[in-house]
């Protein structure tokens, strides 16, 4: 590719980004429920959302790592967010979903109780994580305020981090 072409492309990209930013600083999230609380992750971090299917247990890992499953030829770890968040286990039902999230090369599937909806929220409505859950260790990125509810936005890179 010639340098000129690169320049043109990068200029275009910049332009697009700029226009995106200017157009209201909107964040797109996907909301889901675990236990009684609603959480969300950025839509771009989600590779796919699938219905539960069989997985294989893996020994010598914490309880919340339920196993691995096959997603079109790739072996992907499966993490139960209920257990990870300290809730009691629950049988999978019709609404249970696996959300496959990716951050860089890290990828994993997460078991959630129920999907809610895709959320468009402006950045101004996202507050910082509560004081008690602050610091580098928290998986909470921020708290989004909608008209009638509060959504906890999670850090995908933290979720995908191995902590055992």
């Amino acid at each position: 590719m010639s340098d000129k072409l690169k320049q043109v492309i990068s200029k275009q990209r910049k332009h697009e980004e700029d226009s995106l930013k200017r157009s209201d600083d909107i964040v797109q999230l996907v909301g889901f429920v675990i236990g009684d609380e609603e959480y969300a992750v950025p839509i771009l971090a989600i590779q796919e959302i699938i219905k539960p299917f069989p997985w294989t247990r893996v020994p010598q890992v914490p309880k919340y790592v339920v196993g691995v499953f096959n997603m079109r030829g790739a072996v992907i770890p499966l993490i139960d967010l209920r257990l990870k968040f300290g809730l009691s286990p629950k049988k999978h039902n019709e609404e249970t979903r696996f959300i496959v999230m990716r951050h860089g090369d890290d990828i994993a599937g997460f078991v959630i109780d129920r999907l809610t909806m895709a959320i468009r929220i402006s950045k101004s409505k996202i507050g910082p994580a509560p004081e008690t859950a602050n610091g580098d260790d928290t998986a909470i990125d921020g708290v989004g305020k909608q008209e009638d509810r509060i959504i906890t936005i999670l850090k995908v890179n933290k979720l995908l981090e191995r902590d055992f």
């Binding site: 294989t56 020994p59 010598q60 096959n70 072996v75 049988k91 090369d105 191995r162």
Partner: protein
């Protein structure tokens, strides 16, 4: 810059290839110093490297190779006899050359290595001017004188190419080249003269190489025969070599393309996917065959499936072959090593190589080098005796080490034999005892063969003194770890006074392996077949406990046992049967019996990593995807051997956990739960109607499979089951047998409800564990009473 990098890459690849061959040639040369063919070959390597490096401006390398070339040239002329001393110098210079090439590879520049000492020694070999001690800078003038004969030689080599030219053409070409060159030279000389006069000695050093280049050309102008020579300086050399090589080799050597290993890896990954898909296709084909027996399209489907599977297998082999390298690549460095070692240790050792053409996967070839170095060193140092002792024992003064490689089934065997003093089992035991590596008891029970394996223990060394070569007690330990990493096995045989033979058995490839699939409870695991020695079926009373560990007797040996369920924390849901299977694992020299519930079979599997998140789980080497799309974990045999030592209780005990069932007190009618299994909706409704008045909880299932999965989910605590016999997918008998496998449901009353009235049907029902047998049609009251009886229904709860 990119172009330069590309050339540099080519140069490095070419140079390393040349050098690899060089080492062997040189050692051979020592035994046949007058082999002109060999000398020419070696000379050409030095020459090619020199030419290319000067073109790329690697002055230090050029300088060094130039002097090497000098010495070799003399030898080629017969002016110099290659004595061991001269050989040492040559070899040293080649080591320097390698070092320089490595530096170039890493930094794209040469330097950091002092070649002057070696260069002066090279010069001394040539017997040239006595001022050897002169620093490099002053050598420059000498360089200018020496090259003359050398160039003549290159030319005679290359002349052949020109012989095809017509006389006139030749003349014209000569004329043109000469004129061109002379003109250039003149300009350069002019320029240099000016700078030379004023330059300090360092500067001169820098210029030395450039300097000699034009000067070389001068003689050529005098002797017209040398016409190609003009091109044989900087640029020319590489071109020459390139032009000459294909011309000569084309007919004899196979054509090759250099391919980036990454591409091959990618290809291998894709093939892996294909193999998985193939396995799946075969499985589906089997299912379809079962379901649509006798249908016309089946044959066609069969054909397609078998073609796909055949081609996939061939494709896999073909791609694997592209990754194969001859093991000679590793073997090549050993003649040189043996030579150096024998001089260092004052022993006479000869190395014989066999089967260098045997091919191995590239990744394995890279891994196998180090272990071999250690083993051969060990043989030289500890194995082969010094000539005097050998003579006293009536052996040939020259010891022989044989290095063989050959294929054996799916494995490659590398065998290292020496005719040295052999391993003394008693001595090994004594030493290990002294060092506290084994206990007295272990030592007493140890066979000779087991004793030999002591040399692989970390910290073990039999050498009385630590030499430069070995005896630090590190090497052999490394051998074991590395070979085990490749799923390999080491086998030692030895006889005192006669020699030692070591066999390394290594699987051909790493990515796709044959595996034995085993079942434990409801889980499956894959064990690399390369580590499986055999499988045996045992009954529970064949398992003995010694010092808290399970063992069994396997022919003459005592085999330590461990249950795979204990290692992988498998929940014991199913009742273990009277018999179990023991998979005898062999790794290196140790053995372990792994108890499993079932043997599923042998399958070709593709190793997949578990990814960043789950990497490093002890005992798990990776995962594979099976024909049914499920994931099966691959057992890491090395780790298992280790973990087995920590698992104390490996019992086949029944862990009866049915206590949970009967604990709950029934306080109301709906606490009783009964499952109705029947494929007919009408029949289910009839039963429901009969039982509903009791107020108990009823769960329905359409067939055996469904019933079983409801049981497995464990959402309900069933007190009884009503089972129809005639059902699709899984009939009542099979269902009963399956249910009885679970500890938890062992005592669950199963009531057959069927229209089959034959005596044999009843018998089968009893055999499969049914407690009652109700024949259709039946009255609602009768059914109700049978159920009440079986669930111990409390009459006061009756409405």
């Amino acid at each position: 810059m990119d172009e330069f990098q590309e050339i540099l890459q080519d140069f490095l690849v070419e140079s390393f290839e040349l050098i690899e061959q060089l080492d062997q040639d040189l050692v051979e040369l020592e035994t046949r110093p007058d082999d002109l063919e060999l000398l020419n070959r070696i000379f050409r390597v030095a020459h090619t490297v020199k030419g290319a490096s000067s073109f790329l401006n690697f002055d230090v390398l050029t300088h060094l190779t130039h002097h090497m070339e000098d010495v070799l040239n003399r030898a080629r002329h017969g002016e110099l006899v290659i004595s061991p001393d001269i050989m040492d110098v040559i070899l040293e210079s080649i080591d320097l050359m390698k070092a320089l090439l490595n530096i170039i590879r890493d930094t794209s520049a040469d330097g950091g290595v002092d070649v002057s000492a070696c260069v002066s020694r090279l010069d001394r070999c040539v017997g040239g001017s006595g001022n050897i001690q002169t620093p490099v800078s002053q050598e420059a003038p000498k360089v200018e004188e020496e090259p003359e004969p050398e160039i003549e030689f290159v030319d005679t080599d290359d002349e052949i190419d020109y012989e095809n030219m017509g006389a006139d053409e030749l003349e014209a070409e000569i004329e043109r080249l000469l004129n061109q060159r002379q003109a250039e030279d003149k300009v350069k000389r002019e320029a240099k003269k000016g700078s030379n006069n004023t330059s300090s000695s360092e500067q001169e050093d820098e210029f030395a190489e450039e300097d000699y280049e034009p000067v070389i050309k001068v003689p050529m102008t005098v002797t017209p025969v040398l016409k190609p020579a003009p091109t044989s300086s900087n640029l020319g050399d590489s071109e020459d070599a390139r032009a000459a090589a294909p011309a000569k080799k084309a007919q004899t050597v196979e054509q090759t393309i250099r391919v980036d290993v990454k591409r091959l890896d990618h290809l291998m990954n894709l093939i892996g996917e294909l193999v998985l898909a193939k396995n799946r296709l075969i499985k589906i084909n089997d299912d379809v065959e079962e379901r649509y027996e006798g249908e016309g399209f089946l044959e066609e489907l069969n054909q397609v499936v078998s073609i796909v599977s055949l081609v996939t297998t061939d494709l896999q082999i073909a791609v694997m072959k592209t990754r194969m390298l001859p093991i000679g690549k590793v073997f090549n460095k050993f003649p040189r090593m043996i030579r150096d070692l024998s001089r260092e240790l004052n022993k006479k050792i000869e190395l014989e190589l066999y089967g260098e053409e045997t091919e191995l996967d590239k990744s394995i070839v890279e891994e196998v080098g180090d272990p071999l170095v250690h083993i051969i060193r060990n043989s030289c140092d500890h194995g082969i005796e010094i000539p005097k002792i050998r003579a006293e024992q009536g052996k040939n003064e020259t010891g022989t080490i044989k290095l063989k490689a050959y294929n054996e089934g799916n494995q490659i065997v590398i065998q290292i034999d020496d005719d040295g003093k052999g391993l003394d089992a008693d001595m090994l035991k004594r030493k290990s005892l002294e060092k506290g590596l084994i206990t007295q008891k272990e030592s007493d029970n140890m066979s000779d063969k087991e004793a030999f394996t002591l040399i692989f223990k970390p910290g073990f060394s039999t050498a009385a003194t630590v030499t430069n070569v070995s005896g630090r007690g590190v090497g052999m330990d490394v051998v074991k770890t590395n070979i085990e990493k490749l799923n390999g096995i080491i086998d030692i045989d030895s006889e005192v006074g006669v020699g030692t033979s070591m066999k390394l058995k290594i699987p051909l490839t790493l990515a796709i392996i044959q595996a034995l699939l085993v079942g434990v409870q409801e889980e499956h695991y894959a064990i690399p077949l390369a580590s499986v020695l055999e499988t045996v079926r045992i009954s529970k009373d064949e398992v003995y406990t010694v010092e808290g560990r399970s063992v069994m007797r396997l022919r003459e040996d005592i085999l330590p046992l461990v249950h795979i369920g204990d290692i992988f924390e498998v929940e014991r849901i199913l009742d273990s049967s009277e018999y179990a299977y023991v998979v005898v694992l062999g790794l290196g020299t140790s053995k372990l019996g792994l108890i499993v519930d079932t043997l599923v079979g042998q399958e070709e599997i593709v190793i997949k990593s578990l990814g960043e998140f789950l990497k490093g789980i002890e005992g798990i080497a990776g995962a594979t995807i099976r024909g049914d799309g499920g994931v099966t974990l691959i057992v890491d045999v090395i780790a298992i051997m280790d973990m087995a030592k920590r698992v104390k209780v490996t019992a086949l005990k029944d862990t009866t956990s049915d206590a949970a069932m009967s604990t709950r007190e029934k306080t109301k009618a709906s606490d009783y739960t009964v499952m109705i299994v029947d494929d007919s909706k009408t029949d289910r409704t009839i039963m429901r109607k009969a039982l509903e008045p009791l107020g108990i909880t009823l769960v329905e299932a359409g067939d055996g499979q469904e019933a079983l999965s409801i049981l497995k989910q464990g959402d309900y605590n069933f007190d009884a089951m009503l089972v129809d016999i005639e059902m699709p997918r899984m009939d009542g008998y099979s269902l009963a047998i399956e249910i009885k496998k679970y500890n938890r449901y062992k005592n669950l009353p199963l009531i057959a409800v069927t229209s089959r009235t034959g005596k044999s049907d009843r018998m089968r029902g009893v055999e499969s564990g049914m407690v009652e047998y109700i024949t259709k049609p039946y009255s609602a009251d009768y059914l109700s009473s049978v159920v009440q009886r079986n669930v111990n229904f409390k009459s006061e709860l009756l409405r």
